[in-house]
């Protein structure tokens, strides 16, 4: 049995670990609320933009001069996986789950003879993928704190990806992130971002209350202007979801850690009390037998 002093030190150290995990849990809870609010606040824009894109794409999409971003290259040989994770760990299986989904999909595509390239946003995802596909990573970026991410940075990612698409580096782009369902569940999600998928709903209605919509300059130009923005908003949305998911996952992980520390402290405390009691008993026995001997 460990000495009393060693036990006491051990309990002390577990206690301070518990303090840290508890604090991290509370920080995550506060950040989660903010991340959720931000995700909600971005919804009106995304919905309206989606509606406009759907309507325009339905009008222009079928034509031969449809924009490249919409019609695609006509091939699906080279796939680009945009894998969005976080830079920091200690968030349960958050990063691992996203990377695992990306890996599974990549292996499927590779088995079909396709080429897969990776574009990683977030250091943790890169870490996992680099072990297996080091040479296929075309670009990686470290976004820092996901909660502070602005639309501009999402736009920068979108512009970079679009430029690569137009340079013919790949045919299809998929985005990987975790959808925030609840504090307990975050679902790794895959979404095709290029060529732009037209939402099926609201298609074909070009009239508004009986009147025909006027376009300025014209449908094609508006759509060409809008598509990069639609991609940017999808990335922005994904990163926002990721921010909320990361904090949710972190909160759960830290809650578990705090509880484990609590259990450990309880066990150690019992062990400590027993040893202490044993030491006292031994001392008493010594004194009594000493007194009897006199």
């Amino acid at each position: 049995m460990a000495s009393l002093k060693a036990l006491k030190i051990r309990i002390g150290s577990v206690k301070s670990t518990q303090k840290i995990t508890k604090a991290m849990k509370m920080v995550a809870a506060a950040k989660l609320r903010r991340a959720q609010e931000a995700a909600e606040a971005g919804r009106p824009y995304a919905e309206r933009l989606e509606g406009v894109v759907a309507r325009l794409a339905a009008k222009v999409g079928g034509a031969d001069n449809a924009p490249l971003l919409l019609s695609g290259t006509g091939k699906d040989q080279v796939h680009l996986f945009v894998v969005a994770t976080s830079d920091k760990g200690l968030a349960g299986a958050f990063n691992t789950n996203i990377a695992r989904l990306a890996r599974r999909r990549a292996d499927e595509l590779i088995a079909q003879g396709k080429t897969v390239k990776f574009y990683t946003i977030g250091r943790k995802g890169r870490g996992v993928l680099a072990r297996l596909y080091r040479d296929q990573i075309v670009h990686s970026d470290e976004p820092g704190d996901l909660g502070k991410l602005t639309f501009e940075s999402a736009r920068a990612y979108a512009d970079d990806i679009i430029a690569r698409f137009q340079a013919g580096e790949f045919d299809v782009a998929h985005l990987f992130y975790a959808t925030f369902k609840s504090v307990l569940t975050q679902e790794p999600t895959e979404q095709q971002i290029l060529p732009v998928k037209v939402p099926a709903k609201a298609v074909g209605d070009d009239t508004d209350g009986g009147a025909v919509m006027e376009y300025e300059p014209d449908e094609e130009s508006i759509l060409a202007d809008l598509l990069p923005r639609a991609i940017a908003i999808q990335i922005y949305r994904a990163l926002r979801e990721n921010a909320a998911s990361e904090q949710g996952s972190k909160m759960t992980a830290m809650d578990n850690a705090t509880r484990n520390a609590g259990d450990l402290i309880k066990r150690l405390q019992i062990e400590y009390n027993r040893s202490r009691q044993a030491a006292i008993t031994t001392e008493l026995v010594e004194i009594i037998s000493g007194a009897e001997a006199l």
Binding site: V52, F151, Y215, E216
Partner: protein
């Protein structure tokens, strides 16, 4: 009848209010939107939207960048990448 005006950015819904008139810097020239305007969609250039709360009142200017204006029977919606 007032015009329902909404200004939305990716970060949040910035404005949603009833106004008299809004002057939008369209990519092919400024245009004013009053209640009952015909359905219309236009890209906008970086510049200032002038929001007239009441007829004849001093307009409020809001700077917008990278956007799109959509007029429907429900009112005017401006989608901007940056505003404020």
């Amino acid at each position: 009848m007032p015009l329902h005006f909404e200004l939305v950015t990716p970060e949040k819904l910035l404005r949603s209010e009833e106004v008299h008139m809004v002057v939008v810097p369209g990519s092919e020239g400024d245009f004013g939107v009053l209640e009952g305007h015909a359905p219309f969609m236009s890209t906008i250039r970086d510049g200032e939207i002038m929001v007239h709360k009441t007829a004849g009142g001093t307009p409020e200017a809001i700077r917008v960048e990278g956007g799109l204006a959509e007029v429907t029977t429900k009112g005017l919606t401006v989608l901007a990448e940056k505003a404020g």
